[in-house]
């Protein structure tokens, strides 16, 4: 993996939960890590909402958060530029949903190209507008155009929230493989909530167990 990982995809595909898991895992293994919330299009369920938990684990959080408000101003923080300094260690960027959200990334396209990056395209077959492989591929095209960067791998994050079953995950693999075929991108991994991973066993390749960090307020 490159030092910088960009996470993009359809809104609601589970980018934030994946970014949080990857960051928390890296922090646990003692890596120096920065998590960037680049979602400036949606003021709900954002990485920045988890700043306290993340900072407790020693994760450096960069977010556009005007004095702790929820204002949805389409502005970026100057701290973004610090991620291109190699001494910042590993960097994960949680990008906003769809092409609209990925537009913010385009502002830094040249810098990302210079420093190198992996860009993960997160897919979820249970989301209507990307439930067909062709639709997922066409949205990726829109995202890549908006951010002027190219995805390097797929993450199959097909889930149904807290009701995700082992079977849901297993059934999503053919979809993910089809998306991989249409887009030409390798399928890096398939995520599953930790609670169902035992049941899945070895029936899914490259299984990435995740904690469901992004929850409804009354489920916490």
């Amino acid at each position: 993996m490159k030092r910088i990982t960009l996470i993009c995809g359809h809104y609601g595909s589970g980018k934030t939960n994946l970014a949080l898991n990857m960051a928390l895992e890296a922090a646990k293994s003692g890596e120096k890590i920065t998590l960037v919330d680049l979602d400036i299009v949606n003021p709900y369920f954002r990485t920045v909402d988890y700043t306290e938990v993340l900072e407790k684990q020693g994760i450096n959080v960069i977010a556009q958060n005007l004095e702790g408000t929820t204002v949805d101003a389409p502005a970026l923080t100057a701290r973004m530029f610090s991620i291109f300094d190699e001494s910042m260690g590993r960097v994960i960027v949680d990008v906003g949903g769809d092409d609209v959200g990925a537009t913010a990334l385009g502002r830094f396209a040249q810098r990302f190209n210079e420093s190198g990056y992996d860009m993960l395209y997160v897919i979820n077959r249970n989301r209507k507008f990307i439930s067909e492989p062709d639709e997922a591929a066409s949205l990726l095209g829109e995202i890549e155009t908006a951010c002027r960067l190219k995805a390097t791998a797929l993450v199959n994050n097909s889930h149904l929230g807290p009701q995700t079953t082992a079977q849901d995950v297993i059934d999503s693999v053919p979809y993910a493989k089809a998306v991989s075929k249409v887009t030409g991108l390798p399928l890096l991994m398939t995520t599953a909530p930790k609670a169902v991973c035992d049941e899945i066993g070895d029936r899914v390749d490259n299984l990435y167990p995740v904690d469901v960090v992004v929850r409804l307020p009354w489920d916490n």
């Binding site: 249970n126 929230g161 009354w218």
Partner: protein, 354 residues
């Protein structure tokens, strides 16, 4: 056939409307209902429907009035400040006996307020959704699945009673994601609309859709007729969910997202030996008076939980004719109460820690 998909509340409202046969949507952007309009803009052109972003909320609601006059299923959506602008059109539709669905994904107020979830438009929705003697049907879903189910129901009831219906949601319900099963939907109206101004081709007398009556006696008669209809609705259409109320001594009343929080608190109170229960109004107008009054028989006290300074509480007091104490707990300005906070208030009601 029904499929299980993961949807945001806002998307679910849009898809349910489409499946209920709505092909005319007029909107104007505002957080936190944006995904609803965005969804309509993506899907409507593909299915021969109309998505139109109007020049203002007032224009959008009046386009709904126009479309509804022609007898089609029409909808608009907004969030609190935008709904204030729409009240003019809502009143005109009520005064013209027009069915339509209006979605309010509430945010904090007054004024521009904030963009986080709120329930501070209860009074507006249930008491004064526009000027004049009028009511609109008000439905309050508390899950993404219920958002789907209530949109179709709202269209049906609006058509049946010839009046506007409102879905009163909030930013949390609009933005959160849950798996839902979406059925085929009704695909269209369940009633004939002989009153529609949809072209008579010389075959009948022309229909007039109007809310202006300059003869006071005519207007009084019409309003009284309308209130006879409202009385039938109050009798027949109230909906609520009762949770653990059978032997409950302490009853929480909450709707929408607050009810989700309250349910978690009631469950915890039960596990601590407190006989708590929850009544969740699903219709806010008509208010489920009977369910609440019936539950009062064995109850010692009520706790109203809202994301406001306390707007539904008076309706609870009226429903039980003030026969029991009714306390209030709420957060406002965009803050969602936590189950722990509600539990603490249930305990207070029960006379301290048990």
């Amino acid at each position: 056939m029904s499929e299980r998909v993961l949807m945001k509340g806002n998307e679910a409202l849009a898809e349910a409307a489409i499946r209920a046969g709505c092909r005319h949507f007029f909107g104007y952007p505002i957080t936190p209902q944006t995904e609803l309009a965005a969804y309509m803009s993506k899907v409507m052109p593909k299915i021969g429907g109309t998505y139109l972003q109007a020049e203002s909320e007032i224009a959008a609601v009046n386009m709904v009035l126009g479309a509804a006059s022609a007898g089609v299923r029409a909808m608009t959506s907004s969030s609190s400040p935008g709904i204030s602008l729409k009240t003019e059109g809502i009143s005109y539709m009520a005064g013209s006996d027009l069915p339509a669905v209006i979605i309010n994904v509430q945010r904090g107020g007054p004024g521009l307020g904030g963009i986080q979830p709120s329930q501070a438009d209860y009074w507006q929705a249930t008491k004064a959704p526009g000027h004049g003697d009028l009511h609109v049907l008000v439905f309050a879903p508390s899950s993404v699945q219920e958002m789907v189910d209530l949109v179709g129901h709202a269209f049906d009831k609006a058509d049946e009673y010839r009046m506007p219906a409102m879905i009163l949601a909030d930013g949390m319900l609009g933005q959160m994601m849950e798996p839902v099963a979406i059925g085929e939907g009704s695909g269209g109206s369940n009633v004939e609309k002989p009153w529609a101004a949809n072209g008579h081709k010389g075959g009948r007398k022309h229909n007039i859709v109007n809310s202006l009556y300059l003869q006071a006696a005519d207007l009084e008669r019409l309003v009284k007729e309308r209130f006879e209809r409202y009385a039938v609705i109050e009798e027949k259409e109230a909906m609520s969910e009762s949770y653990m109320t059978e032997d409950a001594e302490y009853i929480v009343v909450a709707y929408g997202a607050s009810a989700r929080v309250a349910k978690a608190a009631v469950r915890e109170a039960r596990s601590q030996g407190i006989k708590a229960g929850l009544i969740r109004p699903i219709t806010l107008w008509p208010f489920p008076k009977k369910a609440i009054k019936d539950a009062a028989e064995n109850a010692k006290a009520f706790l109203c939980v809202e994301m406001s300074m306390g707007q539904m509480i008076d309706d609870v007091k009226l429903a039980i004719e003030c026969s029991r104490p009714v306390e209030f707990f709420g957060r406002t300005g965009g803050i969602i109460p936590t189950p722990a906070e509600v539990l603490e208030n249930i305990k207070k009601l029960a006379g301290g820690d048990k």
